[in-house]
Each structure stands twice: as C-alpha cells, then as structure tokens.
C-alpha cells in the first residue's frame, strides 16, 4: 500500500460570506506528482496556504505525515518545502545569503546544500548577485531553490512556471521528475499552463469554486479524455444533415462556423470520410484527435459553451 504523506478531510475556508474552500478532501501519496488545476480564485492557493500554516481552516482537518494535531503538524512542516505566490526573498541580500538563511531555518546541516540546489536551478553564475538585480524568471527559480534547500519530502509549488522561459520550463520539469524518482518526493504543483502540467504530473486534482470536482491518475485522465473526429469545412450545417441522416444518433459539437467535432462513431473514420466525399463536401481537415487536459478541464468545469 502506498504511503499517504498528506491528507485533508472536509477542509473548508470561509472569508465572510465567500467560501474559498468547500469541504475539500484530498489525499497525496508518496512519490506522486499532483497537478492542481483550477481557475483564478478557485481555491488553489488557499489550500496550499492552509497546508503550509499561513492560513487556518474554518472547518475540517488535515494531516501531514499522518500527524493531525496542530502542534505535531507544525513540527512535520519541516519536511515540507514550499513556494506560494510571488518569491519571498530579501531583495537587498544576495542569492546565496537568502538560500543560506533558508537552509539554517530548515535545520539542514549540509553546508553544500545551497551550492547543490543553485546548480539544480542553474543559478550558480548569479549566486553573489543581489536578488533585486535578478530577472523575474531567476527569482522564480530562486524561489524553487528555497523550497528545495531543506531536503523536503513534500514540495508544494504554487505557479512555479510563471515567468520561466521554455528552456527553464523543460529544466524544471526534468528536475521535478528526478526529485520524485530519486528522492521519493511528493510534489503538489499548481499551474495555469496545463500542457506543461500534463507532461509533469502523475495525478490531477481539479478544483472549481472551492470544491474538488475530480481527482484522476494519468491513466484515468487518458481514458477520460475523449477522442473525436475533427472536421473542418465551410459546410458545417450540411455535414450535420449528412451525419444525422446516415449515422445513428451522432454525438457532435459545433466548435465554430467551420469546425465540428464528432465524438461518436470514431471507429468509422473511413466510412465517414467516404460519406463526406460522396456528398461532395469540401473538407479542409479531417483527423482523429483527443481532448487535451485544457479541454477536459473546461468540460468538467463548464467552461465551454
């Protein structure tokens, strides 16, 4: 059985009449990478803040490494590395000074830890530069380094990809995979770049208006992401007529004036192609496609009309 490192039970957070989190129950297992997906204001950061001890739940409980009492949880936080919202650094201090302070706070006795994480996030050349002189992307990488310098078992990263260039996004992805594999780390990461999360995560937690609407593994997501035939043509209404005449209850969606997605009968691609040809419908594109994570998220949260 896989070890549970973090678990929330009916976690609720209200700010006056506004409910930021509504009975959120999630379980994070060791050596998994959880992609935490939700719109702005869905409650992602609030949940991360509660776990990190920066905010308090209105209702519900949570446990870290199996410890549920507030005092024990506080002690267990030394095994969590996190970066929440913008990088929290002293701008007048150098990169190394900020990291050294964090290493001391985490109680990590390994003096080489700072150099190691600087190398991991590719910040060695600027280690003696003041943080205020760094670019946004560099600050973001420093923020990830700060989360890692204490050798945590759980890494909580809130929008760590923001401000990173493509090269660094790839490097961060590789690094997180490596940490998960080699150090048995559990990673809880939120991002709006869903295509990137798709390449990174092993599990997904979808949150919408404070409620967890779905939790899926990568395999489950792949099964659920529906395949469809993409038909691009200027005669969408005529295509609909043809499909409805020749297929039994076709399931489709009109995406635009020139694009239609057919979800049923996907095994009959040849038949459908011949059908369109026989009716002399000019098709600019005809392909078998799959819902992306982004599209799936929009489907389950009602983001698509």
């Amino acid at each position: 059985m896989e070890e549970i490192v973090l678990q929330t039970k009916n976690l609720t957070k209200r700010y006056g009449r506004f409910t930021a989190l509504d009975h959120v129950t999630v379980t994070l297992k060791k050596k998994h990478i959880y992609g935490f997906i939700g719109e702005n204001g869905a409650g992602k950061t609030t949940l991360m803040k509660i776990i990190a001890g920066l905010a308090f739940p209105t209702e519900g409980t949570f446990s870290i490494m199996g410890k549920e009492s507030p005092h024990e949880r506080e002690k267990m936080r030394r095994y969590i590395g996190c970066t929440i919202e913008a990088p929290a650094v002293i701008p007048g201090f150098t990169v190394l000074q900020n990291l050294e302070m964090q290493r001391t706070l985490t109680g990590n006795p390994d003096q080489a830890a700072c150099d190691r994480v600087l190398e991991m996030v590719d910040l060695v050349p600027v280690r003696h530069k003041k943080v205020k002189t760094l670019s946004m992307g560099m600050k973001q990488r420093l923020s990830v380094a700060l989360a890692m310098v204490g050798n945590p078992r759980i890494l909580i990263l809130d929008e760590p990809i923001n401000g990173l260039d493509p090269k660094n996004i790839v490097a961060l992805r590789k690094l997180l995979h490596k940490l998960c594999e080699e150090r048995d780390m559990t990673i809880f990461i939120s991002s709006h770049i869903l295509s990137e999360l798709y390449l990174l995560a092993t599990d997904y937690i979808f949150i919408h208006k404070g409620c967890v609407v779905e939790t899926l593994t990568q395999d489950e997501l792949e099964t659920k992401c529906r395949k469809y035939i993409r038909i691009c043509t200027k005669s969408v209404p005529y295509v609909i007529t043809v499909l409805e005449t020749h297929l039994r209850q076709p399931e489709y969606k009109v995406v635009s004036e020139t694009e239609l997605h057919l979800y049923s009968d996907i095994e009959k691609t040849e038949t459908i192609a011949r059908l369109l040809l026989e009716h002399q419908i000019l098709v600019s594109e005809f392909s078998l496609s799959e819902q992306t994570l982004e599209e799936y998220f929009l489907t389950i949260t009602g983001g698509v009309q």
Partner: protein, 231 residues
C-alpha cells in the same frame, strides 16, 4: 528556535537602517554635548541631560518597526512558519534584536553626548554611583518596553511602511506630546516618560512597570499573531 535566532540576528546585523540611526544619534549626541551643554560639571552632565530624553525615541522606533515590518513586506516571515517554527518563536526571535538595537541606540546617544561635553571640558565631573547604574538599567528597560509596544504595532500592521508610520505617530503622541500635558505620578513612572530622577521610590516602580509592559506586550503580540493569516 536557535536556528531562527541565528537567522534573525544575521538579518539584524545587516539591517542598514540601524547603522544610519547609529550615525544620526551619535552625531546628534556629540553636537548636543559640545554646543549646548555647560562644561562646568564635565561629562557627567551629558549623562544627566540625556538619560531621560525621549526626543529621539522616534528614531529607535523607526528602526524597530522597519526591522519587524520588512519581513512582512518581503514575505520572508512565511519561511519561518512553513519550515515548522511556532508563531511564538517568530515573535521572540525578533524581540531580542529589537531590544538590543533599542538599548544600544539609547546608550550611544548618552555616551556620545558625554563625549561631546568631554571634548569641550576635558573632565568627567561627578563620578557615577550605583544608583546611577540602576537608573540607567531602569531607563533601558523602559526603552525596551516602548519597543515591545512598537513590535506589537508592527505585527498588527504587517507592513513595513504602515508599521513605521503608525509607530512614529504613536511615539510622538506618547513620548513627545503627552509629556507636555501630563505630570501625574503615574505618567512619570510609566514607560512613556523615562525616569527623570534616581530616587529608589521612582526607580523601583518604574522598573516593575517596564518589566510588566514587556511581558504584557509580548503576550499581546502573540495573541495578535497566533491566528493571523499571512500573505
């Protein structure tokens, strides 16, 4: 908590505002001693003139509010919480550098005034007595007590700029303005009026009040901060 204290002291040693305050208070003290005080009684005169002087407490206040508030503005205070340190220890590890800087600044002001007058007169004048030492200790405890109130204000504001503004206003109202209107016994032994005489009847209650204020304010700061949500 030891690690937290190490980090807090590290930041305190590198807090440039503190050194600016040292330079200002040192320069003001020397100038005051050299130009304004009579050299008749020597450097001891400088001690008497500045030990209970609250005119520059706002500078000490500014350093305290800036030091505590900057961790909120930079959001670096969240590192201490997220690495498993208690909220009480977050307060305590700040209190020590705050008290140290406040005490050292007031001592610097007194000593630099004495140096200013000594340059002019070349004499120490009257010698210090044991009672003077108790007087100094009492005043320094009062300085620390005022700063414990400022630390509470900084934890209440949770922003460097707002905290500094609120603290300076508070110090002006209590240590500078209030003394012009209040002469009652309670005010003269309160922490807002550094004791002006070295009699035991004044020093002992003033010292007791200062100690009570320090512990009371640390408790109040904890109550303010224990359930506070951080950005």
């Amino acid at each position: 908590m030891t690690n937290q204290l190490k980090v807090s002291m590290y930041k305190w040693r590198r807090f440039w505002v503190l050194y600016v305050a040292y330079v200002i208070l040192g320069a003001v003290g020397i100038t005051y001693g050299y130009l304004k005080l009579s050299p008749a009684e020597g450097a001891y005169e400088g001690f008497l003139a500045t030990i209970s002087d609250t005119s520059f407490v706002f500078i000490i206040t500014m350093v305290t509010a800036g030091f505590v508030g900057s961790d909120f503005s930079n959001r670096t205070i969240q590192h201490e919480i997220t690495t498993g340190h208690s909220r009480l220890s977050v307060i305590l590890v700040r209190a020590l550098p705050v008290f140290l800087s406040a005490i050292s600044m007031h001592v610097l002001y007194i000593v630099s005034t004495m140096i200013g007058i000594w340059i002019k007169s070349g004499t120490m004048g009257q010698h210090f007595t044991g009672q003077d030492i108790l007087w100094l200790v009492t005043v320094l405890m009062q300085v620390a007590a005022v700063q414990s109130i400022i630390q509470w204000i900084a934890f209440l504001c949770r922003n460097a700029v707002v905290g500094i503004a609120a603290s300076i206003l508070f110090t002006f109202m209590t240590c500078n303005v209030l003394r012009n209107f209040m002469e009652s016994r309670i005010f003269t032994i309160s922490v807002f009026c550094f004791v002006r005489e070295s009699s035991y009847e004044t020093l002992i209650p003033a010292l007791m009040i200062a100690i009570v204020v320090i512990f009371g304010m640390l408790f109040l700061t904890y109550q303010t901060f224990r359930k506070a949500e951080l950005r």
